[in-house]
Amino acid sequence: MVATTSSDLSALTARMRRNIVRMVYGVQSGHIGGSLSATDIMAVLYASVLRHDPKRPDWADRDRFVMSKGHCTPVQYATLAEMGYIPVEELDTFRKQGTRLQGHSVLGKPVGVENSAGSLGMGLSFGLGIALGARLRGQNDVTAYVLMGDGEQQEGQVWEAAMAASYHKAGNLVAIIDRNRIQNDDFTANQMETAPLGEKYRAFGWAVREGLDGHDFAQILDGLTWARDYKGQPACVIFETIKGKGVSFMENNPGFHGAAPNAEQFETAMRELGEGA
């Protein structure tokens, strides 16, 4: 795997964050806040937990990562670039005409993207289908990891999937929630409070870990491996995160859900993220 030590992960996530900011700045559109909040989770997942092989992306026994918050492609593509699925230079094509790297996730573009998303709330269902299929195939090592936002928990389909996953005892399904408490227009509490999330998932028959720091590599690893190893019922791990993490003026700022930085903001952001350091 690419990075397993804390210093490796620090360097990896700093590169990913710079690439995220660069991508969104370069095309002046894209979802930067929810990408930065999920960066550390994605880095630990791909570097240390997910069973995958960029040289064999069609490996039948690979784990599947399902991006349900499909607007956060900047972090998904930045991750795939770091893992070697695509050249880092390709990130410059993000959202530009002719690119493989569309604004929202498209299955197979590039290889390594396992689902199409953008309309929220569908990923947990899609991951459940993968989990049920893997079990029927006897591929008992395959786990489906689904990354969702916390605003996304307002979608009714999420709870249809949550109910069905526990009914089917999908122990090979892991829900990861990026609890950054901000959605498109405002703070989640001002739009439609989703708390208490852990209690909701427990009531739906899931095993739950919550209150973990989604920017602490050790806690992320602990939460993800716990969820992976929990068998017999689906597991949900809720990471407390900061939207826009790593860039001072983006942190916890609803204005940077879907807005791009201007030139001055870009310079500041890249400096804060250690460019040239």
């Binding site: 199409s116 899609f126 993968i130 069905a164």
Partner: protein
């Protein structure tokens, strides 16, 4: 195609689903079935009896079922999903994003389509499903005319990669095809030769089109009958040939007129070979409770309506 001469057996097209899925699985196809609490009505539940481990219940939650069907298909399965036509519409965006756009191997078989579902009334009567699912790229949309063609449609869907929508119904209709007939994707089936007018029909309207052609023959009007069961892809070649040979086309379908098969046929002919056209289809309204036959009369979907439309089309040729 061969047609059954006697006696006129009847069956609902939905009856093909369960038995065909069991047969295809027994022939080795890697089929799994997802269900939303309507397996008895769609007849898919017969598959559960034979292959319980390949049967996935999702409760009354179609959105989850269709997205999960997409995920299941990525593990290499041929996934069949069935529910009533109106409830598949309930999950339009899930079908769009989890099946159509990524072009996944999911076959949706809807039953209880059209007004012939009858007494359940407006909410249960899908009069727009052909338009809804024809709007999805990568989908093949099939509207079989009888139970044997429905079985053939299910089989071609199972043996062809990618998404399909097959429309079936609840009402018992005359069987016009022999068992084991093959389905030809993208081909209209010419069921009757004719020179004065063409009746292009789909679903339950095909047997009525054949009856209408027989009536018209008594009046000296020679009507060609095309079964347009392959709605997408549509056999534009057969339509253009029909327009060229007969000079007038009537389209008959159990669906809203302005977004239906007739509209698709009109678009094809308008750009290739425009001729007078008439449409036997549902006007701009929802259904209501009643028997199948009462509703077909109310909506203007009887043999007599086809006969009248054909006469009008022939008259317009002369102008």
């Amino acid at each position: 195609m061969t047609t059954n001469a006697t006696p006129p057996a009847t069956a609902a097209t939905r009856e093909a689903l369960g038995v065909t899925l069991v047969r295809l699985r027994n022939e080795g196809l890697d089929i799994v079935v997802v269900d939303a609490d309507l397996g008895a009505s769609t007849t898919a539940r017969r598959f559960k009896t034979e292959f319980p481990e390949r049967w996935f219940p999702f409760g009354v939650a179609e959105q989850n079922m269709f997205s999960a069907a997409g995920g299941l298909s990525t593990m290499g399965f041929t996934v069949f999903a069935s529910t009533f036509a109106v409830f598949a519409e309930h999950a339009y965006d899930q079908i769009r994003m989890s099946i159509a756009q990524p072009n996944l191997n999911v076959k949706i078989v809807v039953s209880h389509a059209g007004v012939t579902v009858g007494e359940d009334g407006a909410s249960a009567q899908s009069i727009e499903d052909i338009a809804v699912f024809s709007s999805l790229q990568n989908f093949r949309v099939l509207v079989p005319a009888d139970v044997n063609e429905a079985a053939a449609a299910i089989e071609i869907a199972a043996r062809t990669s990618g998404p399909f929508l097959i429309r079936t119904g609840r009402s018992k209709e005359r069987v016009i095809y022999a068992e084991g007939m093959p389905f030809q994707l993208g081909k209209a089936d010419r069921l009757r030769e004719g020179t004065d007018v063409t009746i292009a029909a789909a679903g339950i309207m095909v047997s009525r089109a054949l009856d209408a052609a027989a009536t018209l023959a008594n009046e000296g009007i020679s009507a060609r009958v095309l079964n347009m069961s392959s709605v997408r892809p549509l056999d534009e070649e057969a339509l253009v040939a029909a327009a060229r040979d007969t000079g007038a086309v009537v389209v008959a379908e159990e669906h809203l007129a302005y977004v239906g098969i007739g509209a698709m046929c009109a678009q094809a002919l308008a750009s290739e070979y425009p001729v007078p056209m008439e449409f036997v289809a549902i006007p701009n309204r929802y259904g209501e409770s009643g028997t199948s036959n009462q509703l077909l009369e109310l909506m203007g979907l009887t043999t007599e309506h086809i006969v009248s439309a054909a006469r009008r089309a022939v008259e317009r040729k002369a102008r």
